[in-house]
């Protein structure tokens, strides 16, 4: 059994947080419903899904080839490509570029990769102001928190909590009106857009065939981040490359309908490098940072590799019974919910994220809803096995759990021993129960019994009952 650590404690806090429970209930149900309606409109959804899965698995099996093709195209269009082995390498590049150009402020549109590599924390240390411009991210940044969902980073907050935050941090008059909250954000952020010399974005898809960087969004903040500043840096995980532009038709349909239930988002930006000399506005410089940060390690296992097919739609989070109860923050990792449970230990290690693979009831809803059919429950099982093996190899003494299983195997193999042992357990159980000592005896199992009623032993075993019925 896994040791009680961070996630477990967080679960307790999350479950007793009434406001959080209400916020989660309201928003996740809406998201799911919108997704279901939107998916039901597409008669060949499964076919699209299979196509996308095949494209992703193909690309991953020849990732070096497609990355090189992508790089050639980006460079041919006047962009520069930076290869970052680790998150730190990627962060260093952004910081060094900013320092070299004496940039004190940058505008940033939503990027989970930037969260993964803790870009903002380093920028802050270097006294470079990084302004999150997606409304949800902006709220989370103002609150000094981290996102709690792939798509709706401020999903854990109610509008009253946000109104309080805006009143406190921006000096805005308190208003629970979402229109006014949004208008304030537009006004404040517009100023930053107009004078920030650097824009940083994530990437949804990188098209190898055309060298296009595709950024999907609704608010227009990504469009502004790649249009007004003189420099655009796109941060992209190496697994985001797809072979052909024509594949985009399928991927956009799957991503957007799964994510928000829209048919398409307000904007899909296909960016081909910096401003051409004859164009009037746009960034003069374009940098694409290709980030590994543990991804190539995941590639090595042919089964686990599909983890990298994820297109970050967030549907598995919406549908997960665990995520629905505990929200994103309880996971204490960048990626949360089912995808976070499989991605986090693989990007880091079982030692660094010992609990993630266990934060699931293996109900299978995540695999069913996944638009690229990632077999999350099966991956979880494999990761649990890995984690256990690693632990067993580390442990110098025989664990109690192992000893218990060895003894139990002995007992199960011998019918007479089994009958005798269970009879004694039943008898002792009753004695302990009568003397209220059961809690004490069950201490080794207390993590199990704490949240569950301890069952009363049956007065007779099945064998005894059978014999009784035969006699009568």
């Amino acid at each position: 059994m896994i040791k009680s650590t961070k996630i477990n404690r967080n679960v307790q806090a999350a479950l007793s947080d009434k406001q959080l429970q209400k916020n989660l209930r309201n928003t996740l149900a809406t998201s799911l419903q919108m997704r279901d309606v939107s998916v039901a409109e597409v008669p060949n959804w499964d076919e699209l899904s299979q196509y996308a899965r095949d494209v992703k698995l193909h690309t991953l099996s020849r990732l070096d080839y497609y990355l090189e093709m992508f790089e050639r195209k980006v460079v041919a269009q006047g962009g520069k490509v930076i290869w970052a082995e680790t998150g730190q390498d990627a962060v260093d590049f952004v910081v060094e570029l900013a320092q070299e150009r004496k940039i004190k402020k940058l505008v940033k549109s939503k990027s989970m990769l930037s969260e993964e590599i803790h870009l903002n924390a380093t920028l802050e240390q270097m006294q470079i102001e990084s302004i999150e411009t997606d409304l949800g991210e902006y709220i989370v940044q103002l609150a000094g928190e981290t996102p709690s969902h792939l798509l709706a980073p401020a999903l854990h907050k109610s509008k009253e909590e946000i109104a309080d935050l805006f009143a406190k941090e921006l000096g805005m008059e308190y208003s629970g009106d979402v229109d006014e909250i949004t208008a304030t954000a537009r006004q404040v952020l517009r100023k930053h857009f107009l004078d920030a010399p650097l824009g940083v974005t994530g990437v949804n898809f990188g098209v190898a065939e055309t060298g296009s960087v595709v950024v999907v969004e609704n608010e227009g903040n990504a469009r502004l981040s790649v249009s007004v500043p003189k420099i655009h840096i796109a941060l992209m995980g190496i697994e985001k490359v797809i072979p052909r532009a024509s594949d985009l038709a399928v991927f956009l349909k799957l991503l957007i309908r799964s994510a928000t239930g829209q048919k398409i988002t307000s904007y899909v930006n296909c960016l081909n490098g910096p401003r051409r000399p004859e164009e009037l506005a746009g960034p003069d410089e374009f940098y694409l940072v290709l980030v590994d940060n543990g991804r190539s390690k995941i590639l090595a296992d042919e089964f686990l590799r599909q983890t990298l097919a994820c297109i970050r739609c967030g549907a598995c989070q919406n549908v997960c019974p665990v995520y629905q109860r505990i929200g994103g923050h309880a996971y204490e990792s960048t990626y949360q919910g089912p995808i976070g449970a499989i991605l986090t230990p693989q990007l880091t290690s079982h030692k660094a994220a010992p609990e993630h693979a266990f934060t699931s009831s293996l109900c299978g809803a995540c695999q069913e809803i996944c638009p690229v059919g990632i077999e999350i429950p099966h991956i979880l099982l494999k990761l649990r096995e890995q984690a256990q093996n690693e632990k067993n190899n580390r442990a110098s003494t025989i664990s109690v759990e192992r000893l218990g299983i060895v003894l139990w195997t002995r007992v199960m193999c011998n019918p007479r021993l089994y009958v005798g042992a269970t009879r004694w357990v039943r008898r002792l159980w009753r004695v302990f129960e009568k003397n209220r000592l059961l809690g004490l005896v069950l201490i080794p199992l207390s993590r199990w019994s704490k949240h569950r009623a301890v069952p009363h032993p049956a007065p007779h075993s099945f064998r005894e009952l059978y014999r009784l019925s035969e006699d009568s």
Binding site: N218, G220, C270, G282
Partner: protein, 230 residues
């Protein structure tokens, strides 16, 4: 070894020995419509955009007047002079030009005089000027019936800020350029694109980041109009 070769070697090592998963060649079917204009209109309006049919002669001026009223604009910023020729828009230079040389009157409609400055290639709009303006007009590379989307492409003589900073945007779309779904766009137009940016635009900017409440008008334009032309 530099980071590039280290990273590529890592990937090659990780993929070595394993089979190459086959790349599917046939894209699944995408929907087609018997009345693509009706489909386009329905989806655009569902996304919060305004559809105006300017296909009949004389309708364009009326539509322009509607857009100007609905966006509280006094001026229209045109993306390029080429638009007038491309869509056969008649115009005549204003008598009250104030010597700037870029103010024109649209005088096709009998009751409505529409004033707009015209982009001159020698004078690209500045970002603060655009941010303070009220309405931009740009052409669509194509329209997508399935989702009510227009595709805006950056070509020489235009820039990324133009249709982005003003609070309202108007797109002119020729019926000839209406396609059924996005497959044609991604199979042909994107690979052939020479400019630095191609954007799919569907309605005004929006967010649902606060309690999933839909709000129209965040960072991008708050209003979006499409006039369909022959």
């Amino acid at each position: 070894m530099n980071s590039r070769s280290i990273l590529l070697n890592r990937i090659r090592l990780a993929c070595a020995g394993a089979d190459v998963h086959e790349l599917p060649s046939q894209i699944p079917d995408f929907p087609c419509y018997s009345d693509p204009v009706a489909q386009f209109c329905q989806e655009l309006e569902a996304a919060g955009g305004v559809f105006l049919d300017g296909r009949r002669s004389g309708k364009l001026a009326e539509n322009l007047a509607t857009v100007i009223r609905a966006s509280d604009s006094t001026e229209i910023y045109w993306e390029s002079q080429e638009l007038f020729h491309r869509y056969g828009i008649p115009f005549s230079p204003s008598k009250t030009c104030h010597g700037v040389g870029d103010l024109l009157f649209y005088s096709h409609h009998p009751d409505q005089e529409v004033k707009f400055p015209l982009l001159l290639e020698s004078r690209p709009y500045g970002k603060s000027e655009l941010a303070a303006s009220s309405l931009s007009v740009s052409p669509a590379r194509c329209g997508i019936a399935e989702t009510g989307t227009i595709v805006h492409e950056i070509v020489p003589g235009t820039g990324r800020l133009f249709s982005l900073l003003p609070p309202a945007q108007l797109i002119l779309l020729s019926e000839r350029d209406l396609i059924m779904n996005s497959t044609e766009l991604f199979e042909h137009m994107l690979p052939e694109q020479r400019g630095s940016s191609l954007t799919l635009i569907t309605g005004p900017s929006r967010t649902a980041d606060v309690e999933k409440t839909l709000i129209i008008g965040v960072h991008g334009p708050k209003k979006m109009f499409v006039i369909l032309l022959p």
